[in-house]
């Protein structure tokens, strides 16, 4: 892998740049307070008006064409037990006896259509979406049935059609989106005889709720549940007793669910884009470093060998010269010796002058 430092830095910058484009949406939820789409609608539930007649449940069942209930909605004895949302009951009424009062209090529960829904945030296929109208809608054609939305919802609202193995749906209140499009009120709002449910623009409902509290301060707790809980919900509640005594969670805080996870999620693209490049670069650098080290080592070895060979060659040459010289000297000595011998031989009686023939 041949990558220079300059190339590495360039890749990292590119990755970071790409990451910023990916990061933008998550940060929008992270450090920006979303107060709802303008003109988004909601419903104000005045708990002090509810008499537990369950007409809202009847209407919801009819409007959404849900299966008939086990016990008729006219049966009010069921209220002695806690009622739970289910795949065939998109809204339920519960009865409570808060401390310090002998008369019962009734509360209607359903999807709260949060301004920043946890379910929509958890859904990775965008089956649950927050609409500008205020409703959190569910598209069954996109749903994969992972049920992350059920885990994510702080109000434990979405229910699942477990009994349908092939085409199960997540079931929750839809704010009667089809009826709203026709200009009708949601089924439950229309059915309530006590006007415990008021449909309208969310900001109007907050104004109405505050007005009611001011006009009847002895009747209400001075708090609109849902105004800020979990970043704000489209379904707002007024009550005369503490909401904790009415089965509603008071420990949720005002941070929306997406904002709680936005920080961690925002880092993911950064980690993926920059991190990959970074780690690749580090890998490349260390590989390169090793390779270079190996090459240098190889080179050193080669050089050493060369030097050794050279030295050896020189030595050999010197030795050879020395040897040659010696040989020559030896030859010379031998020749001289031979000449001297022959001269000595020739002196006394050299017959034919052959010693002279050997000169040279």
């Amino acid at each position: 892998m041949g990558i220079t430092r300059r190339e590495l830095l360039g890749w990292m910058a590119a990755g970071a740049g790409a990451g910023t484009f990916l990061k933008k949406n998550a940060w929008a939820a992270g450090n920006h307070h979303f107060t709802g789409y303008p003109k988004s609608a909601g419903v104000l539930h005045d708990v002090t008006r509810c008499i537990g007649c369950r007409k809202c449940e009847t209407a919801c069942n009819r409007v959404n064409e849900l299966p008939a209930p086990e016990t008729s909605f006219d049966n009010l004895d069921v209220l002695k037990d806690r009622q739970w949302l289910s795949d065939s009951r998109l809204t339920v009424v519960n009865r409570y006896f808060p401390a310090g009062t002998n008369s019962p209090v009734y509360v209607k529960t359903q999807c709260n259509h949060c301004l920043e829904p946890a379910c929509a945030s958890a859904c990775f296929v965008k089956a649950l979406k927050k609409q500008p109208t205020g409703a959190v809608t569910y598209d069954e054609s996109l749903c994969v049935g992972c049920r992350y939305c059920m885990i994510a919802c702080p109000f434990e609202v979405p229910a699942y059609e477990y009994h349908k193995p092939l085409t199960p749906r997540v079931m929750k209140c839809t704010l009667c989106q089809p009826r709203l499009e026709k200009g009708q009120l949601p089924g439950c709002v229309e059915a309530c005889p006590k006007e415990a449910l008021t449909y309208g623009r969310r900001d109007e409902l907050i104004r109405i709720a505050r007005q009611r509290i001011d006009k009847y301060p002895g009747r209400y707790i001075r708090h609109i549940y849902g105004e800020n809980e979990m970043g704000g919900t489209s379904w707002l509640y007024l009550a005369g007793h503490s909401f904790g005594a009415l089965g509603m969670r008071e420990d949720l805080g005002v941070a929306s669910a997406p904002s709680l996870t936005a920080g961690a999620l925002a880092v993911v693209p950064m980690v993926v884009s920059v991190g990959v490049v970074l780690l690749t670069g580090i890998h490349a650098i260390s590989q390169r470093k090793d390779k270079v080290a190996r090459e240098e080592q190889q080179e050193a070895v080669n050089r050493a060998r060369e030097e050794a060979e050279e030295t050896m060659a020189r030595k050999l040459a010197d030795q050879k010269r020395a040897a040659d010289k010696e040989k020559e000297a030896a030859i010379k000595r031998e020749v001289e010796k031979a000449l001297a011998e022959s001269a000595r031989e020739n002196q006394p009686g050299d017959p034919a002058g052959e010693a002279g023939g050997r000169e040279g």
Binding site: R49, I51, G52, C53, L76, S103, L185, C192, P193, K194, E195, T198, E204, I208, Q211, R212, D214, K215, Y216, P217, G218, R219
Partner: protein, 552 residues
């Protein structure tokens, strides 16, 4: 927990520690033991705390230093009940023939001496009882049996109000006398004031007031707390009388301070008026004294209020309802500026505060929360103070206040005259002017038209309010009662119909419910507040029958 233990055992084994203590099957035995033990331990811990029994006789022995051990809660009735044959003198010394309700005067001891005393005395008595074969309390050494942080008892102690009924019964009691040769009433038997010169309490006729004017919640320099003074006075007297065999009040905690004990106390319905020099009517005009000094009415004045004192006497539990700190005029302490003696509460706030039951408006608001009134009044929105009609009370025309100065008797006479002009019994709208039944058919859909029993309901409202003097005083016109339902429009015998303002289409932006919500809200709301059980809110057919599908 299980994986942790298993990991731990593997780890110790790997390290060769303890010869791998949790090895083999042993680790499972440990886990099983753990799961068996924990619930047992938890149950024991839980059972040791609150049993939740409610008592009224819990007395905390208060010593200045509570850092060493938690304060001991002494159960008085339990002890008196356990030794019925022994009298109060067992624990309470007597002085001048009366018991001192301080345990053997231990309150006078210093901390060290007091602790030693309590330890010796309490544990000593317990030891004596135990040696006599009886069930007894903790001995010395069983420290934490007495010194507990949480006793587990719930206090059901209720304060007892010495109301007009109880007061009258004491005034009327033959057994209570005070210098009969000098006074024709026995006020001095209980009432006294502190004389600075004589440095003791004496009885002064005409200066009787509530004990709580001087004896406050907390003990002051030389004034005992209300609790001490009341027990000393009341219980001692009851004790003395019961010793003589006379029927008298309770002597144990539960007799006065438990709900059951209080229910047993006879309450007179019509208490005769107290015979002191209180006025029948009072002319309330804070500026009048100053005006008299200057001998002319001020240019800007609030019309005085003619206050029906005798009428209010019958309406309150005791004089303290209004005369909460002294029997003086309200403006003696509550100046118009709001000075320290009045607790920085100005006169205007004192009279008009909607929150305090001591003031006029606050008390009236409380009365309107009663079931007989709340049906209409609960549905009425809070009126800002500026929108109230001041002339309902401030009605004395200044012309009647001439010539100045006015002495006390003249002022009362003026007030009495104005009060007398008010009606004493409510005037009712004649039946022929009230529709008998009203057919409400404007929104017929799932249900048939409702036959509204209009006259019957008006009669019921009139019946339920006719005895109430406050209602009579404020429902000046007979049509005022109609405004309970025919609201937000002037009183009239021909008021607008509900549908005039409440639209069938639905609620309006100003908070006005739609017609459906208006009918159900007004009717059901009234029934709920007036504790009318039939028809039930969810019994739709009781008010309008269902329409069969064919006729729809």
């Amino acid at each position: 927990m299980v994986p942790l233990l298993i990991w731990f055992s593997s780890w110790t084994e790997g390290k060769g520690m303890l010869n791998g203590f949790f090895r083999g099957r042993r680790k499972y035995y440990v886990v099983a033991a753990f799961f068996l033990l924990v619930p047992v331990v938890l149950a024991a811990a839980v059972s040791n705390s609150a049993s939740g029994e409610s008592r009224v006789d819990m007395l905390e022995i208060e010593l200045p230093d509570r850092t060493k051990m938690p304060a001991v809660t002494f159960l008085h009735d339990q002890h008196t009940g356990a030794m019925p044959d022994q009298g109060c003198e067992t624990c309470h010394p007597q002085e001048n023939g009366k018991y001192v309700f301080d345990y053997k005067k231990a309150g006078t001891l210093a901390y060290e001496a007091a602790t030693a005393f309590y330890h010796d005395d309490c544990a000593g008595c317990h030891r004596k009882m135990a040696s006599g074969g009886k069930e007894a309390g903790p001995r010395i050494g069983q420290c934490r049996e007495c010194h507990v942080e949480e006793t587990g008892f719930e206090s059901a102690w209720k304060p007892i109000e010495f109301d007009r009924s109880l007061h009258f019964r004491h005034v009327n009691a033959e057994a209570i006398t005070f210098k009969p040769e000098q006074y024709d009433q026995n006020c001095g038997a209980c009432h006294h004031v502190y004389d600075e010169k004589l440095e003791k309490t004496v009885y002064r006729k005409g200066e009787e007031g509530s004990c709580r004017y001087c004896h406050l919640e907390q003990k002051k320099e030389n004034t005992r707390s209300y609790r001490e003074a009341a027990h000393d006075s009341c219980v001692n007297c009851h004790k003395g009388l019961s010793a003589r065999g006379t029927k008298t009040g309770p002597v144990d905690c539960a007799g006065c301070h438990s709900a059951k004990g209080q229910a047993k106390i006879d309450t007179l319905k019509d208490v005769p008026r107290l015979k002191t020099k209180q006025p029948d009517a009072v002319l309330m005009a804070a500026w009048l004294d100053e005006a008299e000094k200057q001998d002319k009415l001020p240019d800007q004045l609030t019309f005085p209020v003619a206050f029906n004192h005798v009428g209010h006497e019958a309406a309150v539990g005791s004089c303290r309802q209004c005369h909460h700190a002294s029997m003086d005029r309200c403006d003696k302490c509550h100046t118009s500026r709001g000075d320290k003696e009045g607790g920085f509460v100005s006169l205007e706030t004192a009279m008009h505060s909607e929150k305090s039951a001591i003031g006029c408006i606050g008390c009236h608001e409380q009365v309107k929360e009663k079931a007989d009134c709340a049906g209409c009044h609960d549905q009425m929105a809070d009126k800002p103070f500026a929108d109230r009609d001041c002339r309902q009370c401030h009605a004395v025309p200044p012309e009647t206040l001439k010539p100045l100065p006015l002495d006390a008797e003249t002022r009362r006479e003026i007030a009495r005259t104005v009060v007398a002009e008010r009606r004493e019994t409510p005037e009712r709208v004649p039946d022929e002017k009230i529709p008998e039944k009203v057919k409400i058919d404007i929104m017929v859909d799932e249900y048939q038209a409702a036959e509204f029993p209009h006259r019957k309901i008006v009669h019921a409202l009139a019946e339920r309010t006719k005895e109430n003097d406050l209602a009579t005083a404020f429902h000046q016109k007979p049509e005022t009662l109609c405004m309970g339902c025919h609201h937000n429009s002037p009183a009239s015998l021909n008021p607008p119909r509900c549908a005039s303002c409440h639209k069938v289409a639905g609620p309006q932006a100003d908070g006005r419910p739609g017609l459906l919500g208006a009918y159900h809200g007004q009717c059901i709301g009234c029934h709920t507040k007036m504790n009318i059980e039939k028809p039930a809110a969810t019994d739709c057919a009781a008010c309008h029958k269902k329409r069969s599908v064919e006729t729809r």
